[in-house]
Every structure is written in C-alpha cells, then in structure tokens.
Amino acid sequence: MSEHHHKETFVTKYMFSQDHKMISKQFLITGIFMGIIGVFMSMLFRLQLAWPEKSFTIIEAFLGTHQTDGVMNPDIYLALVTIHGTIMVFFVLTAGLSGTFSNLLIPLQIGARDMASGFLNMISYWLFFISSVIMVISLFVEAGPASAGWTIYPPLSALPQAIPGSGLGMTLWLVSMAIFIASSLIGSLNYIVTIFNLRTKGMKMTRLPLTMWAFFITAVIGVVSFPVLLSAALLLIMDRSFGTSFFLSDIFISGEVLHYQGGSPVLFEHLFWFLGHPEVYIVLLPALGITSEIIATNSRKPIFGYRAMIGSIIAIAFLSTIVWGHHMFISGMNPFLGSVFTFTTLLIAIPSAVKAFNYITTLWKGNLQLNPAMLFSIGLVSTFVTGGLTGLVLGDSALDINVHDTYFVVAHFHLVMGVSAILGMFAGVYHWFPKMYGKMMNKTMGYWHFWLTMIAAYGVFFPMHFIGLAGLPRRYYTNTNFPMFDDVADINVVITIFAIIGGLSQLIFLANFFISIFRGQKTVQNPWRSNTLEWTTPIEHIHGNWPGRIPEVHRWPYDYSKVDANGDYIHGEDFVLQTTPLKDGEDPS
C-alpha cells in the first residue's frame, strides 16, 4: 500500500479529506448538529401549540426579538415550522442519512478502495457544509428566516410584503438549497458510478447487499429529481429578484397591484413536488436498505425474498417519480390528472406491502439478537406500517379533499418517512459505529434510547391523526380562534409532553455517541458476525480499505444459518462471509 501512503496533516486528514470513511463521519456529525437544531425548533413550537398564551423563559432566551414576553410571534412560529421541515428533510435525512451511509458503506460493501472520485466526494461534503452554514446564518436574519413552509409555495415565498421571512431569509434559503442540491447531485453521481464500476471480482449486481441496492436506487432518484427542484429554485429567484413572472400573476398586496402577469403558482407546485415526492423515498429507501441488512444479520437468517426486495425498491423508485400530483389534488389542477395520480399513488402500496411482509417473514423463526440496531430496525418496520397505511386515505383523491393539510397529514408523513427514516438512521449508527470509530456504543443506553424514542414517537403521532380528523389545519399558530377546536387542546398538551420526552431522550443518544467515540469499548473485527465485506477490513482505518488485494466475492450476502443435509452449519458458524468460496456440493443460494 506504499503508493497510497503519503504524509497527512490535520487539514488533509480531518478537514479536506478525500477518504470516504472520513467524509462519512463529516456528514454524520454535521447531520447530527443540524438535527439538534431541527429537533429543538420542534420543541419550541410544540410549546406554543400546547400552551398558546403561556410565557416560557426558553422562548424568551432563544427567540430574541421574535417573541413578546416569552410568547413567540405568529410569523416566527411559521419560520420555525418551515426551518424544522427543511432541516429535517434535507439536512438530516437526506445528507445526514444518505451522505453518511452511502459514503461509508458503498466502497466497503462492494469491495472498492474508495469512491470513484474522492475529490468530488470531498467537494460534495463541503458544498453540504456551506449550505448548512448558510441555512444556519439565515436563522439570524433580522426579519426572520424563510417562513412560507418547507414547500415554499409562491407567491407567499416570493413576496416580502406577504410575510417578513420572504425577504433576505428566503433568499438565503434558496441559495442554501441550490448549493445543497449541487452537493447532493455530485454525491449521487459518485455513488452511481462507484457501484457500477468499482465492484470487486465476483460482486455481481445480484450479490450486492440490499443496502447497496437501496443507496444505488436512491442516488438514481436523486439525479432524476433534484435538478427539477434546482430549476424551480432558480425560477423563483428570478421572480423574486429580477421581476419575471414564472409563478406569479394578478397580485394585489399592500395596497398596490404588482406587475406580474401570466405566471402560475401551480407550475411551481408541479416542479416542487416532482422532487418533493421522490424526496420521501430518497429519505426512506436508505433507511429501508439499512434495515434489511440489520434485520437479516441480527435474525441470523437470510433476508426473505432478496429478489422481491430489489424488485420492490425499483418499483417504488419508478412509481415515486409519477405520483407527485397527489400533493396537489386540490391545487386547482385538472381533476382528470387527479384521477391518474390517485391510481399511481395507490399502486405504491403494493411494493411497500411486499417489503413489510418480507421483513416480518425474515423475523419468523429467526434467532433474534436484540441489539440496539435491531430494535431500531424493528421499530422502523412498525412505524413504516402505521404511517404507510394512512397513505391509503391520503392517496385517494376523494378522501384527501377533507384531510388535506390537516394534522392527519402531519401524523402520516412523520411516521412513515420522518420517524421511520430517523429510526433507520439510528439503527445504522448503532450497527456501523464500530466500523466508523473502531469502538462500540453502549447497549444499555441504546436500549433506553430506543424505548423512549418509540414511546415518544407513537405518543406524539398516533393521537395526531385524530386531531386531523377533527379538521384541524396544520401550520396554525394557535387554534384559539376556533371554538370548534377547543376540545383538541388537551390532546395537544399530551402530544407536546411526549414530544419533549422524545426530544430529551435523544440526549441519551448524543451522550452515548460522543462518549463512545472516546471511551467506548474497543471493537473486534466483526462484532455482529456479519457476512458483508466491510467486516473484512481492518479495524484501524487505512487508505484503500484493505491491506493487500481486495477480496474476491463468492456468494450473496445473506448466507446466515446455512445448514447441510444433517442440519449442521455448512461452514461451522451461523454466518458465512461473502469471501468464503462455495464448498463442494454447496447450493449457491
């Protein structure tokens, strides 16, 4: 490996590293930092929702000029909701999740020395970092950060007269997102090229771990859909700053008629959701991929229906690009289009159901090792099912009319893509922490973290469905203007208490994470007794991943508990590394 060995300074090792393992850590730490901001914001606005007129010193301390005597102002409430959504969806669950694990695992699991382009990989992280910094800076703009909802529908997002956050705050939001998209595209292209070209000998596409399939397809969806959001953002910038009328028309505001003619906000909705919906799967598929791997490993069983799992990932990915209109049933678009989107949307239930059933069948008759990562994966399947099922209500245009933009939607998407994806991310961290840091995380804290998180997740989002069915719109600063919603006030208090429990229990994770980096138990090479290639690399990170030759792959990754005719393990253990050649007469499963 001498040709790879060059002198590293602090800057090249920890900052401008081109090593995928270091870049993945950078993504993770940045993602965690952004996650803390995003979750903290949700705590603040949950306080407001539960106790609308009450004064809180924490609000007074953090919201500065945006509060009056410890009660937040209505426009900052909207800003908090907006930035919470933006940060969680893009910065935590897209970059934090996909960026971390795609970078860490793709070269390790396919048997490559690094990403196809280490340089672009580094650029991808630093663009993400810059966009994070800009997003954080936008929080300190005097008029407040972007406040038009994370979907930034114009004209609200285009006109500072309409809401203060649509001034400089919105400009920074757009700039940040444009850079973010560039980062995401560079990353995705790199992932795709790497998986296509750098697989080691014997690593056929049909021998890839499901994590690889999930990351691969995720990257493809990203490349297909993110550019459309970029164009939407650019056109919106033009409307805002250069007087064009792509999305604006016939507007009278602050006592004057604006010059915009002939644009349509509905066009923006199409462009936004052309990314916005696939984005759900960009967030979710990596989590499902991680879960597939962890459930198989910890069940000591092959994942059930490997090919069906790949098929369903591809089907979900394909369908995800032709369903965006279900966010727009009542946008004023042609009702016939609504019919088409209802049809395609409900079809997604089929591959999703296949995945859920396959997970459950994988658990069946397993020998389950209930490690924290495994608990989080099982939790993911649970919330994925709970949240996914209500999609049958929302995807049906006729039913969507009455629950659209109510808390029913909030409950649905938080469970199915928010909570599920974050559980998947935690699962991944617990599982691959030894690979990242050479240390193990503490399992007792992991258990506490899991159970408190699960209790909080269901405590927050299950009752929320019913508030939605009471007709309560989301993004209301308070419901006190509507006596008909007085009876949901108590439920809002309960939800907030669970939200605070959920938020605080993440401190357990943070403590476990950072303490384990420094003080954790040293890991062994293959702590979970897993089959995949990443566990054949040395514990200490080296450039190029494997000393000497890259191992050759001889089998698929799920030969757990494979037995011969006598019922004994063929290779003497309940796992068989992918690098183990087939024995004479062994059936290549």
Binding site: I58, P74, L78, G149, Y153, P154, L156, A162, I163, S249, D250, I251, F252, S264, K301, P302, F304, S331, G338, F343, L346, I350, A353, V354, I360, G366, N367, L370, L375, I378, V385, T386, L392, D396, S397, A398, L399, N402, H404, D405, M440, M441, N442, T444, Y447, I455, F466, G471, Y477, N481, F482, P483, M484, D486, I491, L507, I515, T523, V563, D574
Partner: protein, 335 residues
C-alpha cells in the same frame, strides 16, 4: 444572559452524563441471551401499551372528530373513508402484532438455530396479489367518487358564489338574478370595490357582495375561488369540501347541503361535541359555543393565517330567498 444560563445547564448535564458513564459498564456492548430475553419481553409490553393506546384513541377520540357529512356528495366520502379505515385498522392490528410478537417469540438463545428460509414465490405472490385486489376496489370506488364530486357540469340551477381570499379574510359574492358572476381582476380593486369586480361587465351589476355565506338546503352550490395575493385554501370540513384559491386563476368546487344549520345543531354527534367544548369553555370562563358551519383557510398564507374564517349558514328555501333578496346588488353599492 438567559442563553448563557442554559448553556451552563447543558454543560452541567453533559459533565454528569460523562461521570455516569464511568460507572456504567461500557464493556457491555453486544446483546447476550439475557438481553434478548429482556428486550423480547419488552416488545410484548410495548405492544400491549400500543394496543391500549390505539383502542383508547379509537373509542374516546371519536367525539372530537367531524360529524357526519353535511353535504350529499360527502356521504360517499364518509363511506369510502369508513371502508378504508376499517381495512387499515384490521391490517394495522394484525401487522403490529406480528412485528412485536416475533421478536419475543424468536428472541435469540445460544442453543437455537435460525431457519434458513430465503424465498417462497407462493407467499410473495399472495402478498403481492392480495393488496393489489383490495386496491382495485379502493381505487375504483375512490375514482368514481372523485369524478362524482369534481364534475360540476350537470348541476341544475345551482347557486353560484365567488369566494375571494386575501390576507387575512374571506369575501364572497353571489352571482345574482342572472346566476352569472361578473368578471373580476385585481386591477379593478378600488375603494369599496374590494373584490376587484369589473363594473363594465353587465353580469356584475346584479352580483351581491356579502359578509357571510348562506346556502339553501338541498340546492347545489358551485363555488368559484379567486385569490388576491397568495395561495389560500377554502376548507369547509363539515361539507367535505376544499379547494385552493390561486392568484391568477379561478378554481371551483361544488356540493349540495344536506342539513340546515339548525338541523345540524340537533344532530347527536354535534350535540355531544358541543357539550364537550362548552364544558371546557365554561371552565375557562369563555362564551358558550354554538355549532356553525365554517370556512377556514388551510394553506399557509402569512402570519395571521390561523385566524382566517367565514361563517356559513344553511337554511330552508324560504329563509334563504328572504336573506338573499335583502342583500344589495353591486350596482346599488358601487356607483
């Protein structure tokens, strides 16, 4: 100053956690049979709790939910919703049982061996085809109903009302004798002509601008929505009706009211919900609430989004006709 205080507390918590971990056994990192046993049982406990909560919500939160549809078109929505909800309820109860029971039942033990079971085309076919068949039914009914609601071409003698949205209030205009709305555009907004009606259009002269919406029981109403500034959404939850108001374009939605406001107030679900609300309001010393249909804004539209509302009254034919005849026409108001 306070922020510093919080930072201090955070640091203190951090330090104490750090100290606690010295006591915790950091060596315990991989689940052993004991852990599998404990965690497996915890899954059962969690499942029991989850089921208790789901059942509690299903029973006791019924009262806060919207009452039966107050429009004829919405009946099928309620029907379809009930079918879907029962279906997903059943699936939810079964799936969650399997998800949480299996980790208990198959919790790892040293002496156990997992079953090598990688594939079964039969099983996979079952759980591909079953959802597909169920979905065909749901999609079929849903699309039929969607068409039913959205197709307004066959409405006979409907009331035509323009609903106009702006930050942060609703305005409404009836089409008048000729049942045709006069043209409108933001360029005509001036003085009391707040909806921007083109008074050069003869159809506009008999239009009537009102402050609350009255509807006639059993007579179809077609709403035409416009917005003055940003996106709004006209949400009338009791009628299962909602449509966005988009600047620069006219959107529409229609339904036929089924119960008058009075009838709705007598309806048992509404009575029960109103009682509950008034109990809360009495404790807080607020005025008592009486049921009214309502139009509220359901698309984020600015700081006071949470206050945008308009009252809707449904009444019998005579009362409606009396009310509408009392409203002045635009020609009378805007000279």
């Amino acid at each position: 100053m306070l922020a510093l205080f919080y930072i201090f507390i955070a640091v203190a918590i951090g330090v104490s956690v750090w100290q606690i971990t010295r006591i915790l056994n950091l060596r315990s990192v991989i689940a052993n049979d004991n852990d599998n046993n404990t965690q497996g049982k915890l899954f059962l406990v969690f499942m029991a709790g989850l089921y208790a909560m789901m059942i509690y919500c299903l029973i006791f939160m019924n009262v806060i939910m919207l009452p039966e549809s107050a429009s004829f078109e919405g009946e099928h929505d309620d029907n379809l919703f009930n079918i879907t909800f029962i279906l997903i309820g059943v699936v939810q109860f079964i799936m969650q049982f399997l998800i949480f029971y299996f980790p208990y039942k198959y919790r790892g033990k040293k002496e156990n061996k997992a079953l090598f079971f990688a594939d079964s085309h039969k099983l996979e076919a079952i759980w591909t085809i079953t959802p597909a068949v169920v979905l065909v039914v749901l999609i079929g009914y849903g699309l039929w109903q969607w068409n039913n609601i959205m197709d307004l071409s066959d409405a006979e003698d409907p009331i035509v009302i323009e609903v106009y949205a702006k930050q942060f209030q609703w305005e409404a205009r009836y089409a008048g004798e000729d049942n045709t709305l006069g043209r409108g555009n933001v360029n005509f907004i001036k003085g009391i002509n707040t909806m921007g009606v083109d008074m050069g259009d003869l159809n506009a002269h008999d239009d009537k601008k009102v402050t609350e919406i009255h509807l006639q029981k059993g007579r179809k109403v077609i709403f035409k929505f416009r917005s003055q500034d940003v996106l709004h959404s006209a949400y009338m939850p009791h009628f299962r009706a909602q449509m966005n108001c988009v600047p620069g374009m006219v959107t529409q939605f229609g339904f036929t009211p089924k119960f008058t406001t009075e009838e709705m107030r007598q309806q048992s679900e509404v009575v029960e919900k109103t009682l509950g609300i008034n109990k809360i309001r009495q404790e807080k010393g607020e005025d008592l609430y009486e049921f009214d249909y309502i139009l509220l804004c359901n698309k984020i539209c600015g700081a006071s989004h949470y206050g945008m509302q308009m009252k809707i009254v449904v009444e019998e034919k005579e009362a409606y006709e009396k009310w509408i005849s009392e409203q002045p026409t635009l020609a009378e108001v805007i000279k």
